[in-house]
């Protein structure tokens, strides 16, 4: 456990190797591999139904792959349950935010620190979240469902941060939000990375993805078709054609 990562500091923090995933009898991911190194921001790009969210859910342990393996920090997490994955330091901020609507903002954040190792750092993390998103402190006693869309996304991100993660999986953060709010969120994201948290995010908006990430993977109908540094990908003919209409 952890051997490899200690010997080789640039070893991947998250390593997904050749996974096949089924929904019932329907295969949705084919031989997918992906790596995220410590401190990186990696984007996962693909259209609706390409399997992006499924991949995040597999990493989180909500679905288990039929084949292949997932390692986090050199440790196999392929068959772990979601709560065990969170306890190791991988937290997903799900699509659609999925806040607890009838709990207060503060209670949503507290639930975020449910994992045993996160509980001891609760106050410290709460302070950090309030620094990133001061509006949450202002609204801490309101019910989550009374927040605006942008505030809800901030709460979702903040709730994820409360689990004291080393890797955050972000699913469609900017969906349905005004560009200004999105800017604000991505600004917070780069600050979060500065704080030492690695980020893997899923985003519909390709321009935005290639702007914010260090590297990106492009997924189409369940297969990774391209990957690389965003600078390279921007120049790639296929990407230009498919995503920028050039």
């Amino acid at each position: 456990m952890g051997k490899l990562s200690q010997e080789m500091p640039q070893e991947a923090l998250l390593k997904v190797s050749n996974i096949d995933v089924f929904h019932g009898s329907l295969q949705v991911l084919w031989d997918v591999s992906l790596e995220v190194k410590p401190g990186e921001i990696v984007a996962l790009i693909g259209s609706n139904g390409s399997g992006k969210s499924t991949l995040l859910n597999v990493i989180s342990g909500l679905i288990h792959p039929a084949k292949g393996s997932i390692e986090f920090d050199g440790r196999h997490i392929t068959t772990l349950d979601p709560f065990q994955v969170v306890a190791l330091g991988v937290t997903q901020v799900p699509e659609g935010r999925r806040l607890f609507p009838d709990l207060s903002v503060l209670d949503n954040l507290i639930i975020g620190s449910y994992s045993r190792n996160a509980r001891s750092k609760r106050e410290q993390n709460l302070k950090m979240v309030y620094e990133h998103f001061p509006i949450l402190k202002y609204r801490k006693d309101q019910l989550a469902k009374t927040l605006s869309g942008g505030e809800q996304q901030m709460l979702a991100l903040g709730r994820g941060l409360m689990s004291d993660p080393r890797l955050i999986l972000l699913d469609e953060m900017s969906l349905g939000l005004a560009p200004k709010v999105t800017d604000e969120l991505y600004k917070a994201l780069s600050e979060i990375r500065e704080g030492g948290i690695t980020i893997l995010f899923v985003e519909q908006n390709v321009r935005r993805s290639l702007k914010e990430a260090d590297r990106a993977y492009i997924i189409e109908v369940g297969r990774i078709v391209l990957s690389g540094n965003v600078a390279e990908l921007r120049e790639e003919e296929g990407v230009k054609k498919a995503y920028f209409g050039l």
């Binding site: 709560f83 607890f100 709990l103 975020g112 449910y114 709730r159």
Partner: protein
């Protein structure tokens, strides 16, 4: 005596009884709220608590209310085990399977009680269960007042537990969005088992006070299941106040039904109210 003066007794008793009914419904509501499971064995589990107290009272000589110090942990453990070993496996299969399993558990408990205790009607006839007192010309059995107080205490404790503790918040979170709760690091399988256990601990309390108030048989559980269901339908889910109000409506239905139609008909009014409320609010008050 005026007709109104006569009515005062069933009115006061109905309200007090409502506390007991709210208490009986509490566990059913909790399990439904968190797992979306209608535990049709709930009434029988309450009656199991009553029989445990009966055992403690008649054989060990322990006061029924004191016996809760053993009865609550016992029923908690039973509930925990039912969820962990039986229900949890069934959730993924289909909607009917957990219901039918609960039905099977109901049958098992009824018949275990029948084999041990025979079908005879019994009661927790403590000295205080038979006492009554007079307030403003209304004679009230002490047992009814105890029901009400016990219900208040349990509801208050439970709502504080859900509001203030990590575990309580996790239970509430899981009831609002199971998947999100999982993603926040909550072991929902364990939360489910604990929830079932807590629900059964409240059932143990309900069982004792039920036994102090009414005679019971091994098949009394169904009647109390229907009442508990009615309470939730009327009072809504997840609201302690609603549960209390639902309990009082059905408590009044029973005492007033008994007053106007005779003792044999007292449950009929309560059942009809449940059916009528179902007809008016098709989604039940469960529907969100």
């Amino acid at each position: 005596m005026t007709a109104l003066g006569n009515l005062a007794t069933p009115l006061v008793m109905g309200v007090l009884l409502g506390g007991l009914y709210g208490l009986i419904a509490l566990g059913l509501s909790l399990v439904f709220g968190v797992m979306r499971l209608i535990n049709v064995a709930h009434g029988d589990l309450v009656i199991l608590g009553t029989y445990f107290a009966y055992f403690a009272f008649t054989i060990l000589g322990i006061d029924p209310i004191l016996s809760l110090f053993i009865g609550m942990p016992l029923l908690f453990a039973l509930g925990f085990a039912i969820q962990k070993y039986l229900m949890s496996r069934s959730f993924g299969i289909s909607m009917e399977v957990p219901l039918i399993i609960a039905f099977g558990i109901s049958l098992i408990i009824q018949n275990v009680n029948q084999i041990i205790w025979t079908p005879l009607s019994r009661g927790l006839t403590t000295s205080y269960a038979l006492e009554s007192f007079v307030v403003g010309g209304v004679r009230i059995p002490l047992a009814y007042l105890l029901d009400f107080i016990a219900a208040l205490i349990v509801m208050l404790l439970l709502s504080q537990f859900l509001r203030r503790t990590y575990l309580g918040k996790a239970i509430v979170a899981a009831s609002q969005d199971t998947r999100a709760a999982q993603l926040m690091g909550i072991n929902t399988a364990r939360i489910y088992a604990l929830t079932f256990g807590i629900a059964m601990a409240t059932a143990a309390v309900a069982g004792v006070f039920l036994g102090i108030t009414f005679p019971f048989t091994p098949i009394s559980g169904i009647a109390f299941l229907i009442i508990a269901f009615g309470v939730i339908i009327i009072g809504g889910l997840g609201s302690m106040l609603g549960t209390f109000i639902g309990g009082i409506v059905l408590g009044l239905a029973q005492t007033l039904g008994g007053y106007f139609l005779g003792a044999a008909a007292q449950m009929l009014i309560a059942y009809i109210i449940v059916l009528v409320v179902l007809a008016i609010r098709p989604q039940g008050i469960f529907g969100r």
